[in-house]
Symmetry: C2
Subunit: 296 residues, 2 copies
């Protein structure tokens, strides 16, 4: 299939692109002018989006993709006055332009990426932050497109993620660094439940959904929202114990050394549906073990 | 009260501003650099928004408004590729910047304006067009603000509207012109139900809501959505008969001379709640009569 991917220089989309290429798909990525594309594989075709919708539309008309995997996003836990515009431009305007170009080119399916932060307090919709609100806003805009066009528009919602080659400042990297530097780490009281998924399990879900949508000629799934939950959900404190056990290390943490953040998610969303047919293949224990060994 | 109004050069906000001034409120309007402000009354204070959120925020900090009446909108029945960006900039980005400035200045209430087009087929949410989808998207974003701040954010949804000084190309103007020019008018088959409200009834609803929100210290109404429905709902064909009866004229219409538009609303939304305490004071019959006599 000809597949357009956005966010391909990011951790998750990058892993998905590798999987797509290994399965023989033709991958096109849409990037921004300022994106550093030096790490992208040679067999990928690039389109640089300058914000001109006609040019983006022409690109889709030229290649006539089968589907779109939309993972590009500006992620901000908190926003400043100046960040409102880039948040809306990246997460709503760009997404809408991409979907418009998709329906005009009669793209069959479009996988969008959402976040558990759209479901604060396990509610149907309650955004943790403005970033999560922009994600919900785009889902509502998408409804216009799949109500008026035949396109299988589906959202996969992600929560915490990890894997090798993950350079983001996430929990395992934080602990790894604290151990390496023999530092004490002041953390929150640690009673929040963590739902963290390993990258290979996530790419499994995207690949499974992509096949489901490819084989569906009636846009049966349009508007569906799926969640990727980990089998193992535990508090941050408990997670640190698993981490220490698997890596045979001890992390020097002062629990309660800092406060919970404003609107800290104590219980991540657990009311989402899994991608049909998907199950978590790799356990948290094995995944941590793999990532830590690779890292050395 | 100090009240910020947007869209003040438009038909509805203009009428509301006149009412606010007549009741002694201090009115500030936010306009764009390209807005023709020559018709705005002298006692109104202007802020020209160039898109800089810090300046908009400073303006709110300076005046510390009691409330905001947000009626500015880019209304498009259909959109072109090039209109996606202005739609999102006007209806989502500007609205978000306005609401951000409002919560930062501890504004007590914010009345937003939506459209029945968000409720195609009388559904909870199904946008007739991209314009309606941007309205829904802003409501999603607003939820972030009223969940995290004490602000009485309420939406009034409007459908068709009319009144004196209405220069928009709407149904009564269309019929008036056809009579004046002795033209035959090709129209759709005319079986769609029309729900059209007179401007004075609409301003009543805004004034009533504004008082309700002013007197509520607990943001009780945050997230509420109200609808302004006309008491008289009838098909377009029936409406033409009422019009002819009131104006003692005959409109030369060829029903079915053109097709229904794509996603024509056959039954406008009728599941909305009215503004608490509001009722339609002026009948459709009397309103048409008033407008037509004024127009002569």
């Amino acid at each position: 299939m000809k597949i357009v991917v956005t966010g391909a220089t990011g951790f998750i989309a990058n892993a998905i692109v590798e999987r797509l290429l290994s399965e023989g798909h033709q991958v096109y990525v849409v990037v921004r002018p300022q994106t550093n594309v030096s790490k992208l594989l040679a067999q990928i075709e690039l389109f640089t989006d300058t914000g001109n919708t006609t040019l983006l539309n022409d690109f889709f008309q030229d290649i006539k993709p089968d589907g779109v995997l939309h993972l590009a996003s500006l992620v901000l836990v908190n926003h400043t006055l100046e960040e409102i515009e880039p948040l809306i431009i990246s997460n709503i305007l760009f997404s809408t332009r991409l979907l418009e170009a998709s329906v005009n080119a009669k793209v069959k399916w479009f996988i969008n990426t959402g976040t558990f932060w759209q479901n604060y307090n396990n509610e149907e919709y309650n955004p943790v932050n403005l970033y999560a609100a922009t994600k919900q806003a785009f889902e509502d805009i998408a409804k216009y497109y799949y109500e008026t066009n035949k396109i299988n528009f589906v959202t996969i919602k992600l929560n915490d993620t990890f894997g090798s080659n993950d350079t983001r400042s996430k929990i395992f990297n934080l602990w790894g660094r604290a151990i390496a530097n023999q530092e004490n780490l002041g953390m929150s009281p640690g009673e929040q439940v963590i739902d963290i998924s390993y990258i290979d399990n996530i790419t499994d879900a995207y690949m499974m959904l992509l096949k489901l949508l490819r084989d569906d000629d009636n846009s049966t799934y349009a508007g569906e929202v799926y969640a990727i939950n980990a089998n193992e959900r535990m508090t941050l404190k408990e997670l640190s114990k698993v981490y220490e056990e698997v890596t045979h290390t001890t992390v020097d943490i002062t629990w309660g050394g800092r406060e919970y953040r404003d609107r800290e998610v104590m219980v991540p969303w657990n009311k989402g549906k899994p991608v049909p047919g998907w199950k978590q293949n790799i356990s948290l224990h094995d995944a941590i073990s793999t990532v830590m060994n690779k890292g050395k």
